[in-house]
Every structure is written in C-alpha cells, then in structure tokens.
Homo-oligomer: 209 residues x 2
C-alpha cells in the first residue's frame, strides 16, 4: 500500500497533523490542509465536520503518542542507572523523529487550558512516582522524587522543544545542532547520575557528623 492509495480520511488526518504541528490551531488553514492532502476543501468537512473537530482528533492522537512513550519507559525492568540512560536514549531519539511534537503540545495547552484535561486523563502520575520511588537509592527522600522527575524531563524535552533558538545560538558558536543533541544522549544521563552519586556522598557525610 503506497501513500497515494491510502484512504481519504487518513490522508486528511496525516496532512492535518503536519499542518497543525507546524502552525498551531489558530494559524492553520483548512485550505493548507486540503492542499497538502491533495483533496478538495469540502472533503475536510465531509469527514471531520469542522476545523475544531479535526484539530481535536489530531491533538488526541499526538497526546496519546507522547504519553505512550513517556510512561512506557519507566515500566522497563532494569537497574535505575541503566534506566536513566535508556530513557534519554529512547526519548531523545523519539523526539528527534518528531521535533515539532513537544512544542505543539506545550503551546496548544498553554493557549487552551481545556486541552489539559484531555491530556491529564491519560496519565496516572502516582503509578510512575511509586515506580521511581522504589527504583532510586533509599538515600533520596520522598519529597525529592518529583524534583528529580521534573529535572529529567526538563533536560530531555527542553533542548528539542527549543530547537530553533538553540540551533541558532549553537551555530553562532560553531556547533552543529544534531551532533550536539546526539552528545546529550550521553551527557544528560551522566549529569543526572553524577548528581545523585554526589548526593549520596553528602548524605553519608551528614550521617557521620
């Protein structure tokens, strides 16, 4: 099955995904989507009723995709340090294949808080929290877990979400963006693991006093 004989509905859906990811809901034009899908504008309404409904279908699918990736990783059964490395490898290579995805989700939610509900209904945060809790060295206190998680996500998502700016700044400094991101698959987990090791050292020193 080649891309050209896919059914119309999925051609529309794929085109809509590209346009919405690129421009966001407000700037996207039904005409743009029809053009990219190589069909007539009226067909968009035939299949999806309205721009709003088409957008919601796309957003829902993409939010799902993100969450499957995010939460799946912590289910893997491996030692914590290895899991952190696995997370960054998996996650950054996923985001590299979908570089517009994080900014799309973040920007659309920040402009339409009603989308947040749709998003939150997909996660069960305490599941993940418990999982990590049992993983991490007993030295890390309960309250530190959410901070660790936010740090991990910040370090993995931000450099991809801010790609255009970061790419621009790095190039001013003579650094190639794609190479830099590849390095981060190693650098970022090193960074986190170092911080946790040092934390353990300091905890032991405090116990001795």
């Amino acid at each position: 099955m080649t891309p050209t004989d896919k059914h119309t509905e999925s051609k529309i859906f794929d085109a809509a995904t590209e346009i919405f990811e690129e421009k966001g809901l407000a700037a996207a034009r039904m005409q743009d989507i029809a053009d990219r899908a190589k069909i007539n504008k009226a067909l968009l309404h035939y299949y999806f009723r309205s721009k709003e409904k088409l957008f919601m279908a796309v957003f829902d699918k993409l939010a799902d995709k993100v969450f499957k990736k995010f939460s799946g990783i912590f289910e893997e059964d491996m030692p914590f340090e290895e899991k952190i490395r696995y997370f960054f490898k998996e996650h950054i290579s996923f985001l590299q294949k979908n570089p517009r995805l994080p900014m799309f989700i973040l920007a659309e939610i920040s402009r339409n808080p009603r989308l947040l509900e749709k998003f939150l209904s997909k996660i069960n945060i305490s599941n993940i929290k418990t999982k990590i809790s049992s993983d991490v060295s007993a030295n890390l206190p309960e309250e530190a877990i959410p901070h660790l998680m936010v740090s991990i996500v910040s370090l993995s998502v931000f450099p991809i979400a801010a790609k255009p700016i970061l790419k621009g700044i790095l190039e001013q400094a003579g650094i190639e963006y794609n190479q830099f991101i590849k390095e981060r698959m190693q650098v970022a987990p090193d960074f986190i693991i170092s911080a946790l090791k040092q934390y353990n050292v300091e905890s032991k020193n405090n116990e001795k006093q």
Copy 2:
C-alpha cells in the same frame, strides 16, 4: 501618574503585550487589544499601522527583556557556585513574574523562523561562553561548557514554560505548583553543583589510573 492617564500609545502597547503573550500572534484579535486598552480599534492602526507592526514592536521589546535578564547575570563578579545559585534565584523569580514570557518567545519563534534573526542579533554567545569558561573549575573540558549551559537553561526555563501541564500533573500528585517552583530555586542549583563536584571526583580518579 496613574495607569489611566498614560498616553494612548503606551496603553495600546501594554494591552497588545498582554494579548499577544496570552494568545500568540495568530489567535490575537485587534478588537481584543482595543478592548483591553479601552480605546477604539481604529486607533491601533493610527499608532501602529498594522497588526504585524504592532506585533513586531511587542516581540522586540519582550525579546530584549529576556536577554537583558539572561546575559546580565553572568556578568556578576562572584565565585562560580554562588553565581549558579544567584542565577536560579534571579531567573526563576523573574520568570514567575512573567510566566507567559518563555512560552511566548519559544512558540512564536518556532512558528516564524524569521523572528529568530531578530533574537539572535541581541546575543553575543562567545562572550558568555568565555565568561563561563574562565569561571568553571579547570577540570571541565572546553566542549562541556555548552552542555552545561544548556542544562542550566533547561532546568530553569522548562518548569516555567510548561507551567499549565506541570501544574496539572503536580496537583494530581497533591503538590502545589508555586511551592514546588520556590523549592526549585534551591534544588536545581544543588543538583548542578553536585553533578560538577562528582565530575571532579571522577576526573581525579581517572588521573590516578
């Protein structure tokens, strides 16, 4: 001088700033801006010619504001560890006062790459790089500086830029967002400094071998 007898031009500018930050260029309406400024829609065009020009004026001002804050901090004369702590304190409290600013800049640039040039022209990256280079312990190799910088910025910007999502997730876990961010002013620099200390320890061990 009370807010009500400010000159019309600056009333419009302030209203436009709020609306554009909140909705982005594409979703913002000239009527919204006129309403918020409590003047007539025609006056917007009298003072700023077009929506595009009004937007550019706002974007330029806000990009300036961000960069003054970002680059200024590393000019301070203090030991590196203290500087990191100072950066997070200053930066997070700045972003808390302007919570929509980072997402506005990131989202608008990612949707209109022409804005990037305007933004980049404001920075001199090698200045900052040299400054940090001379700050950090001699143990950190040259190539690691950009990674350190990106990690610092990721950890400070992301939790604010992703506020709506993060707030939603934290509340599901029974954690209050503002309190959490306040804690990060301490947690994030601790995290970075720990990682650097551990890095130094490992470098010394390698030398011994």
